[in-house]
Symmetry: C2
Subunit: 297 residues, 2 copies
């Protein structure tokens, strides 16, 4: 019942307990001890005046109040991490940690070689790669730089348009040997196809451009582009993937390269505040350069 603001460390402890589910696990995570963590939670509960967890022999069960506070605590953690990244990058030169957000396909198939070259040039750079098709928010500092497939709307962001990465219809030779080549686009309806599970914004955009997609009933559905790519490689059926990726495997054949091509607009985005920090600047430039090369300009 004090007037003072709680220690910010309590918030960190709170979040860790929330994430780990028990005082003991949180203590291991934070390299503290279980009684300490317990005292932090007690103190926080006393200050804010209500219970955050129900203690049980199996761990701590968060109350509704605690769940409501979780996003705030997570954001606090993001900011603290961003501050630390910014701090370690100080002192001139390209050094410190840079956190990149990208989609799974890009992150796994395209970025590694670009980042390898980047790190060869700047050995003091530590690279964090956060892969998710959910768009991480640069404003919330979840990442320093993002490779995006949608044009960002924020004006506090600096954006470099890469261009449209071409997508095409592909199938493995093994599949085609067994089921034959489709004669025309309509023929696709009688083939085994690979598509999306849920309706994302991206899927809706495709549908708009290619009405035929509406009619297709894919027999293999996954939201992960990576899983779709794997399915194509495994010879499951016909699916959409990046042309440049497919070319790497001589057994993957592109279909209807004249009739079907979908450009996937791509952008590299960074918060304006970071443009002067060497590590972000260098990474940003390397990503732009590397992606342009990947596209064959």
């Amino acid at each position: 019942m004090s007037e003072t603001e709680p220690s910010w460390d309590f918030y960190r402890t709170f979040l860790t307990v929330l994430q780990q589910g028990s005082l003991s696990a949180a203590a291991r995570e934070l390299r503290l001890t279980q009684p300490t963590i317990g005292r932090h939670i007690d103190a926080l509960e006393n200050i804010i005046g209500f219970q955050l967890f129900i203690r049980s022999p199996q761990g701590l069960i968060p109350t509704e109040a605690a769940i409501d506070l979780k996003p705030h605590a997570e954001q606090l953690a993001s900011n603290a991490a961003a501050l630390l990244r910014a701090a370690t990058g100080q002192g001139g030169g390209v050094r410190g940690t840079v956190r990149i957000s990208a989609s799974e396909v890009i992150g796994i198939e395209v970025l590694p070689s670009i980042l390898t070259a980047l790190h060869d040039r700047h050995p003091d750079l530590v690279i964090e790669l956060s892969l998710s098709d959910a768009v991480e928010n640069l404003l919330l500092q979840e990442a320093d730089i993002a490779v995006r497939m949608v044009a960002p709307e924020q004006d506090a962001l600096i954006t470099r348009r890469i261009g449209g990465i071409p997508l095409g219809l592909h199938a493995h030779r093994r599949y085609l040997d067994k089921h034959g080549f489709p004669e025309n686009l309509q023929d696709l309806l009688h083939h085994r196809t690979i598509g999306f599970d849920r309706e994302s914004a991206f899927v809706q955009a495709i549908r708009k451009r290619v009405p035929l997609m509406d009619l297709m009933r894919p027999s293999f559905r996954a939201d992960s582009n990576l899983a779709q790519l794997a399915a194509i490689r495994a010879g499951f059926g016909i699916g959409v993937c990046q042309v440049a990726l497919a070319k790497r495997d001589p057994d993957i054949v592109r279909l209807f390269d004249k009739e079907f091509e979908l450009p996937l607009e791509t952008f590299v985005v960074m918060h304006e505040n970071l443009k002067t920090t060497p590590r972000c600047r260098a990474t940003f430039d390397a990503l732009v350069e590397g992606l342009l090369t990947y596209m064959g300009r």
Copy 2:
């Protein structure tokens, strides 16, 4: 030179020193003592590995590195405050602190009566009003709810359009008695007028709609709408202000009410995450309701 993450409290101390300019002042602010603050800064400098401040008998002068880190620390503080607001608002019912961001005119001339009524209904509510024409960012949690004059672009925000608050040309009777009524809009060029100092986005929008504005050379310039309103009330000259505000003073006359009317689009905006918290919900609804009434529907 430790491997461990610094205490988050160090960040708070760091920011306070940055804001206050001295260890002693920061100590007073945080209700700690000067040696403690000094140790925090020393510890932080040791962990991140470079100097944050140059000590002097006049206080602490931030290095460039410290200035670079400042925005991060400020955001951390915003989030911590937001978490605390969210915490005090727990427990059902409309209680706790709600932070509202609005422009100066709205905040001073329009909101007080709305907020008074709101507080009469919910005495446990604490209202923070942050007035600035700079748009505070809801995503950064600088405020819970904002009254905006530009349509928000973020999709994580829930927005309620109020409509166009009508702006009109006004002058005090005292001025008109002395200098006469302008015959037509062109005539304004020979009158004393009140306008903006710098080119804000808002001003440019006005110019686009009213080309005549380009020609006007206001003799009284202020970015603060409040100052402009005060100038009109003082009989300085002819200026633009909200029609509803001008009506309150019987000595202020509206000019060219047929030829000149500028609707100022207004929105009440809130972060989506807050829509279920009672205190924000109630405040949001009260603001929408109150502003609609203010506009006369």
